[in-house]
């Protein structure tokens, strides 16, 4: 694969929340990855692993109570987004980087017409007049597959279905032709049939507009469908990063491995139980000293308990593990994970 230009680079992102009288919660702990131009990167992990915090930190949209360590860096066009002034950040939002959210039922203002909400970003960033902004909005919602765009722009969100609303969100996010689209679980709240349509629209538009996408999801099916590259997060850390084919072919981190084996298949016996990763995620308020996955890992040793594994290069891919799954998973290990 040819080397592409880097668009956004996250280095050493550490975010924590501190409330008086409570121990500090480490929400994100050393997150490193990059997004290249025109690339779809999937950020995968279970709920609470810090993927949304990571995504929201790019646009500075995290709650004010969440703070970042000083060495954290999110590099975009030679600027550290974490240190940008509010004004400069606002110029970026919706213009260079835009975002769509999980639940289209709640991400549109119920009291405002679709057209008004769509043109808002255009009017804010592109100094367009209302009429041309409206025409742009019309074209864009037609592109995401909404028929009769003129009429739909005069509708209120409650008059549209969930799938339609998510289309509107996508159209709205792409209206200013951003370089990066952050999609935070864009299909989680939708019906399965609608999910596929939304993903297809996103993929088509991504190619047409040459926009990069950071796709946050916990659905490995979505990852396989969409992503060029996958970043796996566990308990606030990136544990593995790889090309999508390489990752599905051979996961290196025991956690990724567990995730992939926990996907039910049609092969095998019908009474076979779906394998699960045993145990639970450690609390962000009391992270272990060594590897965060230690308690749940099947390949653990004493070293894992004492020393924290850092993300290191392993045959062209990155993994944070002392004992990566190299030679393929042995059968006895599969059963051990299942438990």
């Amino acid at each position: 694969m040819s080397k592409r230009e880097t668009l956004l680079e996250i280095n050493n992102l550490r975010a924590f929340a501190e409330k008086t009288g409570e121990p500090r919660s480490q929400l994100v702990n050393s997150v490193n990855f990059r997004i290249d131009k025109g690339e779809i990167v999937a950020l995968v992990g279970e709920s609470g692993c810090g993927k949304s915090v990571t995504a929201l930190s790019i646009l500075g949209l995290n709650a004010a109570s969440i703070e970042y360590e000083s060495e954290s860096e999110i590099r975009f066009h030679d600027e550290n987004l974490l240190q940008l002034s509010d004004r400069k950040l606002r110029k970026l939002r919706g213009n260079d980087i835009s975002m769509i959210f999980q639940d289209p039922m709640f991400s549109l203002n119920p009291l405002k017409k679709i057209g008004k909400q769509m043109t808002e970003a255009l009017l804010q960033h592109k100094a367009a007049d209302v009429r041309t902004a409206r025409q742009d909005a019309e074209k864009m919602i037609e592109r995401v597959g909404i028929t009769d765009p003129k009429r739909q722009l005069d509708n209120y969100p409650y008059q549209l279905s969930g799938g339609m609303r998510q289309r509107v969100m996508i159209a709205m996010a792409l209206l200013c032709k951003p370089e990066l689209l952050i999609a935070d679980e864009p299909t989680t709240a939708l019906d399965v049939t609608i999910q596929a349509q939304i993903l297809e629209i996103m993929k088509d538009l991504q190619q047409e507009l040459d926009v990069s996408i950071l796709l946050i999801t916990h659905d490995l099916g979505v990852v396989a469908e969409m992503a060029d590259r996958v970043v796996v997060m566990y308990s606030g850390q990136v544990v593995e990063e790889a090309d999508v084919y390489a990752l599905f072919e051979q996961p290196l981190h025991p956690y990724t491995n567990g995730l992939l084996t926990s996907v039910p298949t049609l092969e095998g016996e019908s009474d076979e139980r779906i394998s699960a990763i045993r145990g639970t995620v450690p609390s962000p308020q009391e992270l272990p000293k060594g590897c965060n996955f230690y308690d749940r890992c099947t390949r653990r040793t004493d070293r894992c308990k004492k020393e924290e594994p850092l993300l290191t290069n392993h045959g062209g891919r990155n993994v944070a593990c002392w004992h990566p799954v190299v030679e393929g998973v042995k059968d006895d290990e599969r059963t051990a994970i299942r438990n």
């Binding site: 646009l59 949209l61 606002r90 110029k91 970026l92 939002r93 919706g94 213009n95 835009s98 975002m99 959210f101 639940d103 709640f106 991400s107 549109l108 203002n109 119920p110 009291l111 405002k112 808002e120 970003a121 804010q124 960033h125 209120y156 409650y158 969100m169 709205m172």
Partner: protein
């Protein structure tokens, strides 16, 4: 469509009016004291008293009395005052006009200042104006309106002499005189409302700011100010509209005290006088008009709701 809603609402009002007026009618007769005795005095003979009672219709049964009142009320005749003999509807309407101007001014003051304080404190959390908003919303509820009324009276009328202490001038006769005469009483009356509105608007705004669509607005690059004005206020004001509707009814009742302190000849004073004099005909008229006004305000609240929120359609 809307017309159908309107007729349905009006049809619903009719039984409500029957029930409320009947309840009030029975309650009035339960008040101890005899109107005939009150009119003729302690020394009146039994004969004269009986004659007057018959004249006023008080010797008949409750149902007959109510029926008599109702049949004339339906043709627009609310009867005459037991005392002065003046027409009840004329007295009630002229007094009601005064109270309505007073209460509406109080509501406007409460709404404008309450929402503004809430919005500004949302824009600058932790600032002095935020603290001030919190102070106002606590003080407004804690200080009873009669105390505030007397305080305002003592400072701005008696000591500083800036504003008149008593009396009322109608808006339609002399707008400037109206403002001068109504300012202190309406502040005294509206303070509680302002506190309530500030608090409700503040918490509604905070709640709205936690929603996803506000995050969407921020993700489009809108500033806090733009987000509040384009997305926050209209959503946050919906619950406040309900507060204002309820407040209107409350202030119609609370106005009695303020009208007494500032000697404003409003409906509150009329109600007090009628009770003191056992002027049942007048009292019944007062209550009827109050009920009608509160029904109209509830109705208006619903209409405003449907104007603000496109999801609400009345059919």
């Amino acid at each position: 469509m809307f017309l159908r809603f309107l007729t349905k609402r009006l049809l619903y009002v009719i039984p409500m009016l029957f029930i409320t007026t009947f309840i009030v009618f029975s309650f009035i007769l339960l008040i101890p004291g005899d109107p005939a005795l009150a009119i003729l005095g302690e020394n009146a003979s039994d004969e004269n008293l009986a004659q007057l009672r018959a004249q006023l219709g008080l010797d008949q049964s409750l149902l007959v009395q109510y029926w008599n009142w109702l049949t004339s009320a339906l043709v627009g005749d609310l009867g005459e005052s037991f005392f002065t003999g003046e027409s009840v509807q004329e007295a009630v309407f002229s007094r009601m006009g005064i109270t309505f101007q007073l209460v509406t001014t109080a509501i406007v003051i409460a709404f404008v200042f309450g929402t503004t304080l809430a919005i500004v404190s949302m824009m600058k959390p932790g600032s002095w104006i935020d603290e001030f908003a919190r102070l106002v919303s606590t003080m407004g509820t804690a200080i009873p309106n009669f105390l505030l009324a007397m305080l305002l009276l003592a400072v701005f009328s008696l000591s500083l002499g800036w504003l008149p202490a008593t009396g009322f001038i109608s808006l339609f006769d002399d707008p400037i005189g109206f403002v001068r005469s109504v300012l202190l009483p309406s502040i005294a009356l509206g303070a509680v409302g302002m506190a309530q509105i500030t608090r409700h608007m503040r918490s509604a705004l905070i709640e709205v700011f936690e929603t996803d669509y506000i995050r969407t607005a921020f993700s489009k690059g809108l500033s806090v100010r733009q987000t509040i004005f384009h997305h926050g206020i209209r959503n946050a004001i919906l619950p406040v509209v309900t507060t204002v509707g309820i407040l209107y009814g409350n202030l119609m009742g609370a106005t009695v005290v303020v009208e007494t302190i500032f000697s404003i000849p409003g409906i509150g004073q009329l109600a007090v006088d009628s009770i003191m004099q056992r002027d049942f005909a007048m009292l019944q008229g007062v209550v009827l008009v109050m009920v009608v006004i509160i029904i109209v305000i509830n109705f208006a609240t619903d209409i405003i709701y449907s104007l603000l929120d496109p999801r609400i359609k009345y059919e």
